[in-house]
Amino acid sequence: MPDGVEPILDVTDLKTVFGTRSGEVHAVNSVSFDLKPGELLGVVGESGSGKSVTMMSLIGLLPSPPAEVRSGSVMFEGRDVLKMTADELREIRGSRIGFVFQDPMTSLNPVFTVGFQITEPLRQHMGLSKSEARTRAVELLELVGIPDARARLSSFPHQFSGGMRQRVMIAIALACDPKVLIADEPTTALDVTIQAQILELVRELRQKLGMAIIWITHDLGVIAGIADRVMVMYGGQIVEQAPVKELFRNPQHPYTRALLETLPQIIGARSKRLRTIEGQPPALHAHPTSCPFRARCVHAMDICAKENPAIKTLSGDHDVACFWDADSGERRDAG
């Protein structure tokens, strides 16, 4: 990706807090990133790392209370999404920014036909007539590879298999030709052979339609095959960010390195024993004043307990938030 390309989405210093009975949970802490046109940004992290909450905050999908976006800005097409009214947001959601969720069974409405659910955004956002919308819906279903599309419009979600349902979800997300597609664990609920079909479909659609995609997953294998750039999240923060090849070849953050080492591989040498990351993810009950990975980190130093490392650019497009220098094995020079 050449420098100087204007990002389509620019997120700065995003903080999201949940109010719970046992105090506040700081789910997203000062997250900043951007998304360039046509790019596929992979977001990886464990459950509770804040990857989904970050993306939900972007487009105001979190119920408030308990959620509260405490600070930050999200610039999309020259406007700050976080400052928009509910009506303005509704105009953007589903038309300019599409969303695909993890479980297609719970995100489709079981009492409406698939045809109704695809034509709904078309009629809402694009003001198409009923018959125009139906024609477009058939095109969309054909685009995502559903056979006999015209007849399937009158089917209900339960009459589709899991993979087909996810294709329907993608068709709905693509209905209004969005500039950005946010996919939250879209293949996690699917079997591997069906996952392979969906990944192939997304590769094709990117070439045809050229939208920017944010792909949230915990599966580094999926990321390796599909992303241009990867963002690793831990404890509500971005700990590392790099182009996909660079990240897998030259991981810098101890968490990223450990994550890659714990994975057994399907080809190549087989390790005798799996590497583990001991301990548990942090609880996020207070605003972090130290590195969130400290307790599980094999390279933790005194400074890690005192300060939370800021994210710094190492070289080119590779950012990392860590005091430890993977190349020298010592503390990174200040500055």
Partner: protein, 328 residues
Amino acid sequence: MLDNVKSPILKVDGLKMYFPIYKGVFRRHVGDVKAVDDISFEIFEGETLGLVGESGCGKSSAGRAVLRLYDVTAGSIELEGTQIATLQGDALRRLRPEMQMIFQDPQASLNPRMTVASIIAEPLDEHRKLGKSERMARVFELMDAVGLNRDFANRFPHEFSGGQRQRIGIARALALNPKFIVCDEPIAALDVSIQAQVVNLLEDLQEKMGLTYLFISHDLSMVRHLATRVAVMYLGKVVELAPRDALYENPLHPYTQALLSAVPEPDPSLENTRERIILQGDVPSPSNPPQGCNFCTRCPKVMDICKKDVPEFRNLGDGRYVACHLIS
């Protein structure tokens, strides 16, 4: 290889597990979901047999049927020479301590109202008559074995994380010193960094206690790490069974080939060069499987004979078995 001829601890022959479908006011029997349809395999002492396949292929039903959690439709299951497929009541109950299960979802398989100590001690209360102090000593011993802090014995399951809950489930399964354990997707609900901890624990326990595992999973990379031999299931049938390295390096059945090629590899340079076999369509319904080979509706190498005859599950020597008309 002569000293390697171990006796199988479990021998399954022609196992069928059908779930009947009833319809109408009179609950007429109109058909069966053929979850497990005529499978045969052996598990040798101290080994791990990986059982892989996609959701709905019958791998969990097979695991449960083998433990006699169901009344099987047909076939024989021999556990250390004893026929258990037809045992009932007390006779079956006396054998239960020999064979245990670790479940997928530790949230659902642990009683939320029982403390960790009473969960782990429940099998002891049922099958052994231990004094109070003996019982607690055994509970502590088990908690140590699975890496749980003894101080947590009086806590409830919700106070633990997913990985720790799975350790409680493992301790319960070990309570009666079983020989054979069915692990039904024990790591599927856990985060990647926690999965490795549980897998290492299972391997340590196997080495220490000489356990035999049937490891059911859809995670092919993890099965490659753990298993001695691997069986691949598709729509109620075992389509291929082979020693681990043979299966992963040279899969013979077209389904195994497609399944392995679909697993994403965490390495972008390999990912872009690998050849992918993308299967078309979905798995047919097990209540109405296709005629001939079950895989013939999606197989990229389908022939005429596949749509007529069911391929035989053939022994190719060297511990390899495959059910496909392409291989003769």
